[in-house]
């Protein structure tokens, strides 16, 4: 539904009123901003030395860029492992065998319900205790596992609903040309569901990228942790956090745009009704 059909084009009087309201609102926002800035200035947070340091190379080469690389590394690995987890358990939920379906269902529902932070803390402390990997790798593995189990479960649901969302004719046609049911799933249905999933995968990447920030609680040196560490050494932690937030926003905004583009293209390409499944959480509206 187009938003514009909700109301008539505003007339001259309404437009005049809008101008006044806009002026008042702008004044209010500017006022609050000015009040905050004055207060921050009094607390010395606007002092040049707290900000100027971001124009030098040190914070970038030693903290923010390595931090960003760690964030991207964890997110990249996690998106791939989650996709694999998702396909395996998504197929599991579609399996013929009732036992496989039940087990897959329980696994998926369990990991969708447990907070990512809880999983990260657990894997961090547990894997470290097992002592099979170098301690420098434990936070990374904890972050990736936490992200994988949660987002993998989300993907499993997407696979399942994607297959359910296909027109029944696809399966009927596959069976009619003599494929077995498993072949039909593997060769006909899941590939289409996966294509339909692409935009959802892209938008889930935003979720994963944001959730890597939880890694700071388990000492993974990702962007937020790097920002805190830099701020701790320089005494400008607020400014560092702000810079980290801006980096996150820019990257995630770009990813969202890519996801929207992808959604548009996939929408045009798929014959079947594209899977309109809602990712169970934090779903980025895939734009209908």
């Amino acid at each position: 539904m187009s938003d514009l059909v909700l109301f008539d084009a505003p007339g001259p009087r309404a437009r005049r009123r809008m101008v006044w309201v806009n002026v008042a609102a702008t004044l209010a926002v500017v006022g609050i901003g000015a009040w905050a800035l004055v207060l921050l200035g009094q607390k010395g947070q606007l002092a040049a030395d707290k900000w100027q340091v971001f124009l030098t190379a040190n914070p970038w080469t030693n903290f923010f860029i390595p931090g960003l690389i760690s964030t991207l590394k964890a997110a990249a690995v996690a998106i791939v492992t989650s996709a694999v987890f998702g396909v395996v358990f998504g197929l599991g939920r579609l399996a013929r065998s009732r036992a496989v379906r039940t087990v897959s269902g329980v696994v998926v529902e369990f990991f969708r319900a447990v907070p990512v932070l809880l999983m990260m803390i657990f894997f961090w402390l547990w894997i470290s205790r097992l002592g099979v990997v170098s301690p420098n790798d434990v936070p990374f593995i904890g972050v990736v596992l936490g992200l994988t189990f949660y987002n993998g479960s989300v993907f499993a649901e997407l696979v399942r609903s994607g297959v359910h969302g296909l027109p029944r004719g696809q399966r009927e046609a596959a069976l009619a040309i003599g494929l077995r049911r498993s072949q039909s799933l593997r060769l006909v249905e899941v590939p289409q569901a996966l294509i339909a999933m692409l935009p959802a995968i892209a938008s889930q990447l935003v979720v994963i990228l944001k959730d890597t920030a939880l890694g700071y609680i388990i000492t993974y040196p990702e962007l937020l942790q790097a920002a805190r560490q830099f701020g701790a050494g320089q005494g400008n932690i607020l400014q560092s956090l702000l810079v980290a937030a801006v980096i996150f926003i820019v990257i995630n905004y770009a990813l969202t745009k890519v996801a929207e583009r992808l959604a548009g293209r996939v929408g045009r390409r798929t014959a079947g009704r594209a899977a309109k499944a809602e990712a169970p959480t934090l779903v980025v509206d895939t734009g209908r």
Partner: protein
């Protein structure tokens, strides 16, 4: 056509996953090294300015300097040292799993910890103290905190101890790190930050905090920083000799001055420099 595309996606995803898995696990050389290693793995704090701090590729701080000196005495060159982050919650585990050879990370010697790990040292005796605004003369010790806001890090017991033993009316704030506490202290939202005095001195020594905060200098506990070792380690004696030598030849004092001396902080002179305990 569409089928093939779908398969390509699956295949690509699977390949990537495999590549990622093997990449993730395999890029850490010598992580399970046994025998007499060429390198020494030392656990330190990465986020504590003045004690153990990772500044890009450099490591600085008092703990780090002591660790370097000890490693050198044990026959390891600067390039042989691998520094590993040892967060407080992980220290015993890392030693038990032999993931590090020794730990210099504001690690207090306690009887409870001695059940699972061994200690050399102590190489420093810290005490719980307070960090306050530079112009604050009202707070002189833990019993003057009634009704004040006191900051410490999440999971630390030091603030709770003040509430239980000295000032029941104190308001506790928990932050993810001490740097956040100091930010709130400088802004006036909290009145004091508490932890070991040398950690506070390290925070006060950051140029941005110079002249804004001070350590009260009235320590009210005894934290004997030791070198954490695996239970069956044979390194205790040589480490103690190295610490004694470091204290005797003045390097110990120099390391202290370099890292936390700029604030005028003086460690508790009755207890420092300490004499290492006999190895058990």
């Amino acid at each position: 056509m569409r089928r093939r595309v779908g398969f390509a996606v699956v295949a690509a995803a699977a390949t990537l996953a495999l590549a990622a898995c093997s990449g993730g696990g395999g890029d850490e050389p010598g992580s399970t090294g046994g025998g007499k290693p060429e390198k020494i793995r030392i656990g330190i704090k990465f986020d504590q300015p003045g004690l153990g701090f990772q500044d890009g590729s450099k490591y600085t701080g008092f703990d780090v300097d002591v660790a370097r000196y000890v490693a050198k005495s044990l026959g390891y060159e600067e390039g042989d040292i691998e520094f590993i982050a040892a967060p407080s919650a992980q220290r015993e585990t890392m030693l038990q799993n032999k993931q590090v050879d020794m730990i210099f990370a504001t690690y207090s010697i306690t009887d409870k910890r001695k059940e699972t790990v061994s200690f050399a040292g102590p190489y420093f005796v810290a005490g719980q103290d307070l960090l306050v605004a530079a112009d604050d003369s009202a707070i002189t010790g833990p019993d003057t905190l009634e009704g004040k806001n006191l900051c410490s890090v999440t999971g630390s017991t030091s603030a709770q101890r003040i509430k239980d033993e000295y000032a029941s009316g104190v308001n506790l704030v928990e932050q993810p790190g001490y740097a956040e506490c100091v930010t709130a202290l400088v802004a006036g939202s909290v009145d004091a930050v508490t932890t070991d005095d040398i950690i506070l001195a390290g925070l006060a020594a950051i140029p941005a905090n110079a002249g804004k905060v001070k350590v009260v200098g009235n320590p009210f506990s005894e934290e004997r920083y030791g070198v954490g070792l695996p239970k069956d380690s044979d390194q205790c004696e040589p480490i103690n000799e190295a610490i004694t030598k470091m204290i005797d030849d003045g390097s110990w004092q120099k390391a202290l001055d370099d890292n936390v001396g700029s604030t005028g902080y003086k460690p508790n002179a009755d207890l420092n420099p300490p004499k290492p305990d006999a190895c058990g």
